[in-house]
Amino acid sequence: MDAALERTGFDRSRLIFWSVAALTTLLVIGPIAPIAMQAFLNKPLYDASAALTAANFGRLVTEAGIGEIALNTVIFAVLSTIFAQVFGALAAVVIGRTNLPGRGWLGEVLVWPLFVSHLVIAFGWLTMYGPSGYVTLAVRSWTGVTPWDLYSLSGMGVVAGLSQAPLAYLMCLGAVSKADAQLEAAARSVGAGPFRALWSVTVPMMRPALIYSTVLNFVVAIEMLSIPLLFGAPNKIETITSFLYDKGINAAVQPDYGIVGAAALILLAIVAFLVWLQGRLMVGSNRFVTVRGKASRPALLDLGRWRWIVFAAVFAYVFFTIVLVFAGTLMRASVSFLTPLVPFWTLLTTKNFDLILQTPNYMRSIGNSVLISLIGGVIGTVLVAIITLVSRRSEFKGARPLEYIALFPRSLPGIIAGLGFFYAVIWVPGLDAIRGTIWILILAFMVRYIPVGFGTIAPALAQIGDELDRGARISGADWWTTVTRIIAPLLKPALFSTFALLFIHFFKEYVTAVFLFQPGSEIIGTTMLQLWAQGDNGPVSALATIQVVITAIFVLVARRVLGAKIYG
């Protein structure tokens, strides 16, 4: 009977370990190496006569307006981070821990912005609150003054901040609602009132979540393209991403590869430093971890007579910054011309949707987006699951380095990933085959979101006691059999959630695609950008609406059918 267990020579587990490690390394280095190369070459990467030089950096720092671009980027990132953190943390405490009326559905609506791309949200804001936006014009016609100007750094900061607030909200919510109830009970027992107990015990425990999401939102702001592009361009406010976009793609005659490479490398270094800093700041955050043993939910605070006042504030926030933004997109898509001066139902039309539905290019971009998200979601889930299992649950000697490499794309801004893969396909022989196809997009998106998948699977895996795999090993199963027969079935719910999350991320991604798509491989986001450049806001909104509707259907189906957990 032992004989069946005697395996000599070929060890498939080891083969899997090494293949996965090699593939992951290749995928992650893929976009970075060409950028690093390009930054030090005096001619385009594909030009055989290109020579090494450090002059690109010199030219970059002496480039006219570069100081202002750097300053704009920092101000924009700081502003949006502050708005995101303040609103996110406040919402988390109020919704997570008080008897606010309607906290259930308010909390649901609060995370809507996370499901769609910044592009959709930016268009929504533009439609409602832009200089000729619906709400802006309405306020001006009532009061006679223009109430705000979103085409400014502070305007951009507000929009970006509010669209990132849900991220801070979710992370802080996790911290405040999972806090051990006994800790607050202990504070009550030594004489603290309920608000004091919340303020002195639970709020400080949000600190790791706050630090983590602060750096995360700062990074998101630095690498954000949509808002700087849409809101900055009219007043020539440039940030590092819109500069890269402009230089890399819009420079009509010949893109300046050297400067783009240098700027991209610097951006990559800054973001990598921030992600490293985040890790450093999180060291020792274990002392805030209190969830162990029997978990009891902390009691809700009674707001008393403040209840409806707080409700009004939260409702106004949700209504004006989320509901109206989505509603604006739908309204703009359904009318020929959106203005508060004429009742919008008199201008109703289907021509915006007709244009999208009847133009093969536009329809293809919708089809491509769905296809990329489905295929990429499935392949990505499998790949990330194997990476996570090898790095967390195998005897592979390189497990730790593999995890480090797999998580590196956190430091890889989308625009850099796109640019990097763009260079890679023209540089590496043979890759030309996938140039301009949806496969290069799938590849690039997958690399970007390996950490997202890892972050979903790893905690679920930690819940599965490792004695279950050990039991399988001692029973005679090798690593791969253990993974497929024991761990994968137990991990199924987490795998479904990972697929759903990857689908949503792939479906809303556009920054990574701007350098990579070609006619035939366009996606919703790139088509929206093209339509916007032509000034066609009606069709843009129609496309945005279609994206929102498909996302909503997918989220409903994923939650019902797959039981996927997406954002709480």
């Binding site: 267990l5 005897e395 050990r470 090993r473 001692i474 029973s475 079935p489």
Partner: protein
């Protein structure tokens, strides 16, 4: 079946040797217990035998089949060792029924369906769980899960059975019944068994031999009687049962007896004394061997009771004398705090060093 041999086995984590140069031979069919406090290296040794931990140096083999050889770089993966292991948490796969849990190792061994079914039934009947084949683990009580875990470890007839504190999650009454049942089963199957526990009464009750471990080393290897009555050093005396320790000095030997002097000058006689000891010593005396007496005499000391506890079957007293403290067990309550205690010469165990020196 062949003997299990560990030879100069060392398992290091960084600079720390969790298991330090252990050599051990377990004859076929023996029930051997690794006993020691947590962190002594007993589970680490067990998992190294299973292959789930990799050892650093030394060899592990059964007969001439080598599982691990640090010098030759041999490390057979756990799945190829054909060993049965019962985990402390049982590790039953929650998505498989009891029968499927038992079926999995048989499928891996390419056992045909009919043979598989009869083996599963046989193994479940062995642990009296035949009725529960179609249940899922979460539908079973802790004791039932423990039996299924054992059946799963036995169903493929492993050459060696390893048990990692399998009873520690059961309540006290069930634990006592389970250990008797476990031992009977092991004798019936005659499977070589390594049992890890930190519970000394469990170890004494089930084992053929016990290896008492501390700090990664085997302090003593012997039968339960050896370990309890003739501990090799003060650590073993302290860990198995309990012992009073009194510092003393050896003043002379005669006719196999030893004359001892306590700190305050009191003389004691011990009926046996190891050859190797001399000078300052440590005496170990088990609380249940000390007697209360009315009259002064040889080996009688005066003491004062500082605290008494009623433990149900016995009374236990903390006492203080001139330069020593004692714990003494009596069957009846003691009325006066001032007492005379007699330490029988044959109850005195003599060691050069106290338990803390190890």
């Amino acid at each position: 079946m062949a003997d299990l041999v560990l030879d100069r086995l060392t398992i290091a984590y960084g600079d720390v040797n969790a298991v330090d140069d252990i050599s051990l031979t377990v004859p076929s069919g023996e029930f051997l217990t690794l006993l020691g406090p947590s962190g002594c290296g007993k589970s680490t040794t067990l998992f190294a035998i299973s292959g789930l931990n990799e050892a650093t140096s030394g060899t592990i083999r059964i007969g001439d089949k080598v599982f691990f050889d640090g010098a030759k770089g041999i490390a057979v993966p756990p799945e190829a060792r054909n060993i049965g292991l019962v985990f402390q948490s049982y590790a039953l796969w929650p998505h498989k029924t009891v029968a499927q849990n038992l079926s999995f190792p048989l499928e891996l061994r390419k056992v045909g369906r009919a043979e598989r079914d009869s083996r599963i039934k046989e193994a479940l009947d062995l642990v009296e769980m035949g009725k529960y084949a179609e249940r899922y683990p979460f539908e079973l009580s802790g004791g039932q899960q423990q039996r299924v875990a054992l059946a799963r470890a036995l169903v493929y007839r492993p050459r060696l059975l390893l048990l990692d504190e399998p009873l520690s999650n059961l309540d006290a009454k069930l634990r006592e019944r389970a250990r008797i049942w476990l031992r009977e089963l092991q004798e019936r199957l005659n499977v070589t068994t390594i049992y890890v526990t930190h519970d000394q009464s469990e170890a004494l009750a089930v084992s053929d031999r016990i290896a008492v471990m501390s700090m990664g080393k085997i302090q003593q290897l012997g039968t339960p009687t050896d370990i309890y009555e003739r501990p090799a050093n003060a650590f073993v005396a302290d860990f198995i049962g309990s012992a009073n320790f009194i510092e003393a000095e050896l003043v002379g030997r005669s006719a196999g007896q030893a004359q001892l002097r306590l700190g305050d000058g009191t003389q004691l006689v011990a009926s046996s004394c190891p050859e190797a000891v001399s000078g300052k010593l440590v005496l170990a005396i088990r609380p249940e061997r000390i007697e209360l007496t009315d009259a002064p005499g040889a080996n009688v000391l005066g003491a004062r009771i500082t605290h008494s506890s009623y433990l149900g079957s016995v009374h236990e007293h903390e006492m203080a004398g001139q330069g020593f403290r004692l714990r003494v067990q009596t069957s009846r309550a003691v009325s006066s705090p001032e007492v005379l205690v007699r330490i029988p010469p044959e109850a005195i165990m003599i060691f050069q060093n106290g338990p803390e020196a190890l």
